[in-house]
């Protein structure tokens, strides 16, 4: 009996050790014959390549480690924007799919069936090479909202120029903390006295009012630098000032959002449908209004069903953002596993670091979500 338990484990172990041993030995040998050394010292060397779009200070004189950071931040930026937009769109479409209105229901399911059945890479290519290429050149671009230009070279929007931004930012955080404590107080009060405070009204007043106050007394000021067109040569124009969002980022965000939102919408729909009809009817019968039913009874329960699969979608979105490499958006894969590897030839180290980074992001998000999930799970007695 004991033998039966040990043998398969021994075999598995042997298999793993053999494979890893085989690979390491070959790698060692190959690197020796080619004169490559294993090590991460290259990270400190000068990268000497430029990156088109960077959130932090970067140029060719910075190190590979800095280039890695630029790529990582660009990946996180796309993932962050994508997750927020996809959640909003997905929630709206998911609720729309359950609408009693025939047209809305059909439009929502058409959208879902359409976008989820086309490969993401194709969608990214479509937005980047076909849709955004149809935009006007800078000199012909119409002025949008009196401030921005949507051109083939990207979106030029007014850039905010702050004075005393720190004060504003700190006030914003204070406002959020206040709102947090206020809503806890309101909830407690409701549980004890049964009285409902106008939470939304008061918290939005705090959220808008407090930071606004800093403009009056805190010396905070906000002005905008607007993009202004300038002729560079006979036929080429560019914009001065303002804030440029590259078309790669727009195409990637659009495609990721539209694609992932379909999956989130299905999760939302399944979550809401998973709540028994009795819950809705019971809530209505004690006199709650339809919006209260949704907010107080359906959603808190539906969220438990919605959150785990939606976390998976967030992870997928983050991983899918690596497709950026295909349209030359400088994300982690393009900058590090692409350019940096071509230059250094350190295939094992660089692919290893890239994979480890994604693995860390994935595991971190899933741990966070597991923790959240546990917190909101039904406490059964």
């Amino acid at each position: 009996m004991k033998f039966k338990k040990i043998l398969p484990q021994l075999l598995t172990l042997l298999f793993i050790v053999l494979i890893f041993g085989f690979f390491t030995m070959n790698a060692q040998e190959n690197m020796d014959t080619r004169g490559i050394e294993f090590g991460f010292g290259f990270l400190k060397q000068e990268a000497s390549f430029d990156i088109q779009f960077s959130l932090i200070d970067y140029d060719g004189s910075h190190s590979y480690a800095r280039a890695y950071l630029v790529g990582l931040l660009n990946t996180l930026l796309v993932a962050f924007i994508g997750i927020i937009l996809a959640t909003l769109l997905g929630a709206v479409v998911g609720i729309a799919r359950l609408s009693p209105n025939y047209l809305i229901k059909k439009t929502a399911s058409f959208y879902i069936e359409f976008f989820r059945n086309i490969p993401l890479l194709l969608q990214i290519f479509f937005w980047y090479f076909a849709a955004l290429r149809a935009l006007p050149m800078p000199e012909d671009a119409p002025l949008l909202l009196n401030s921005s230009f949507m051109t083939i070279k990207g979106l030029y929007a007014p850039a905010p120029i702050w004075t005393n931004f720190n004060i504003f930012f700190i006030t914003l955080i204070i406002a959020m903390i206040l709102i947090f404590f206020f809503s806890r107080y309101a909830k407690k009060k409701q549980e004890i006295e049964g009285k409902q405070l106008p939470v939304l009204l008061i918290s939005s007043t705090i959220f808008i009012g407090l930071p606004l106050l800093t403009f009056l007394i805190g010396g905070v000021d906000l002005s905008f630098s607007f993009p202004v067109i300038r002729q560079m040569s006979q036929s080429s124009y560019t914009f001065d000032g303002g804030f440029k969002i590259p078309p790669e980022l727009i195409a990637l965000t659009l495609a990721l959002t539209l694609y992932t939102a379909t999956f989130i919408a299905e999760n939302v729909r399944a979550g809401i449908q998973g709540i028994g009809k009795g819950q809705k009817e019971a809530a209505a019968s004690i006199g709650l209004t339809p919006s209260q039913v949704l907010k107080l009874v359906i959603m808190p329960q539906a969220l438990r069903i919605i959150i785990p699969p939606t976390t998976n979608q967030y992870l997928n979105l983050t991983k899918n953002s690596s497709l950026a490499a295909a349209i030359a958006y400088p994300d982690l894969v393009l900058v590090f596993a692409g350019t940096a590897m071509m230059q250094t030839g350190k295939a094992i180290e660089i692919v290893g670091i890239t994979m480890a980074t994604y693995l860390t992001i994935s595991l971190a998000i899933s741990l966070l979500m597991n923790w959240y999930n546990k917190r909101i799970a039904i406490q059964e007695k």
Partner: protein, 423 residues
């Protein structure tokens, strides 16, 4: 004089409200139509901000007059019930109707009415619409990649043969049914590999050798997804069982394997197979690019399949395990005859979703330089003779993928209903 309450339409003044409603509704639609397609704005005397919304306002007022409770007219009641239950609903319905009016005619014009398909040069495209000539000229490339034109029948023959072998499973006599899973998981892959190796690759039997670098297009999509599908299923099943095993070494190695592949993007896995994997092999060994890609995708998707199957295993009630054990079945007997048949039925939709994801992931193989449909499109797009037709290409490829994926998902929904067992 009859009292008419315009705010609350009733069926006493049915005809009045109906005519008022249609008047406003038609006015709204006409306003929108003339704004967008006739370049005349019939409400231009109003301030710009109101004038922009007039189509919406008119149509919603029209729908408001239509909203008569218990009108007794069947069509009207149906309309009201479905798209016009409240003012808010009416606004949404009108917005969607207006959007359809806005988008559909230009779309149809581009796709069909102004499109060109006759001829075979770029100059044949004279209309303002799509240039399907481009697709027609490049069709063979999109389907077969760089495979020599004269040899393309080989791909067709192989595909038909493989399909025939796949379909053969449905016609076996009942007494052989038990061997079906053996046939599908072991025999079929071997047969198809032999077929593909000898017919598509060639090199013997008087067939010209065609290297895998020349394979491409939709046929490559099928080859890659077919083999990855076939291999990732058994591997995923083993991993799922491993993860639920109570032998610690097996359990934790399965867990780390699964979590590793699930945590990294496919594109880095393909990078790994392209640049890192050759370093891990003895010097001088060469593994074909296509094989490396299939192995990479298989390992990647197997991890996802494993998680789906684990879901099915967990959903089975404990009683099934206990009952099987009490009959004296061992681990393998219990799983093969009792647990897996039930668990796999439960996870059909999940497996289908994984397979769909796999098919949608195949375009990524461009990373290692293999060009399937999307890769070929990008190649064709850059051809100096055919610049500027990227839109047509993407619409074409999108349609192909959409048809494949949509029909597969519908089929899996059917299977789900068919195998639904009540517990």
């Amino acid at each position: 004089m009859i009292k008419v309450n315009l705010l609350k339409p009733d069926n006493k003044n049915l005809s009045l409200f109906l005519s008022l409603g249609s008047l406003f509704f038609v006015l709204g639609i006409f306003d929108f139509y003339s704004n967008n397609f006739l370049n005349t704005n019939i409400t231009s005397f109003l301030p710009r901000i109101i004038n922009f919304f007039t189509p919406l306002i008119f149509s919603v007022i029209g729908l408001h007059f239509f909203r008569i409770e218990f009108s007794g007219v069947k069509i009207l009641d149906n309309i009201n019930k479905n798209i016009n239950t409240s003012n808010f609903n009416a606004v949404l319905s009108v917005i969607i109707i207006l959007l359809i009016i806005f988008a559909l005619p230009p779309l149809l014009n581009w796709l069909i009415f102004d499109a060109n398909i006759a001829g075979d040069t770029k100059e044949a495209c004279t209309g303002g619409g799509a240039c399907w000539v481009y697709i027609k000229v490049w069709f063979n490339r999109f389907m077969y990649g760089m495979y020599p034109n004269a040899e393309q029948w080989r791909i067709n023959v192989t595909f038909i043969a493989v399909l025939a072998f796949m379909a053969a499973g449905f016609f076996v006599p009942t007494r052989l049914r038990n061997y079906l899973s053996f046939y599908y998981t072991i025999l079929l892959p071997i047969i198809s590999f032999i077929l593909i190796y000898y017919i598509i690759s060639g090199g013997s039997f008087g067939l010209e050798w065609v290297e895998t670098g020349a394979w491409g297009g939709l046929s490559l999509t099928f080859i890659v997804s077919f083999f990855s599908l076939i291999f990732c299923f058994p591997l995923g099943m083993m991993l799922a069982l491993g993860r639920r095993s109570n032998l610690p070494v097996v359990k934790y190695s399965s867990i780390s394997f699964i979590e590793f592949w699930r945590g990294v993007p496919l594109i880095t896995v393909l990078f790994m197979s392209a640049v890192m994997f050759p370093m891990f092999l003895p010097d001088g060994t060469y593994v074909d690019k296509l094989i490396r890609v299939v192995v990479a995708i298989t390992l990647f998707e197997a991890a996802y399949t494993a998680e789906v199957i684990r879901g099915g295993l967990q959903a089975l009630p404990r009683g099934q395990y206990d009952a099987a054990k009490s009959l004296g079945m061992g681990y393998w007997k219990m799983h093969i005859f009792v647990i897996l048949p039930q668990a796999l039925k439960l996870v059909i939709p999940g497996i289908a979703n994984t397979f769909l994801a796999l098919i949608k992931d195949t375009p990524l193989i461009f990373v290692v330089g293999l060009l399937e449909v999307v890769g070929m499109l990008n190649l064709a797009k850059a051809n100096p003779k055919w610049l500027g037709f990227s839109m047509e290409g993407y619409v074409f490829a999108g349609t192909i993928f959409w048809i494949i994926c949509y029909s597969m998902s519908k089929y899996s929904q059917n299977l789900e209903l068919k195998y639904k067992t009540d517990r």
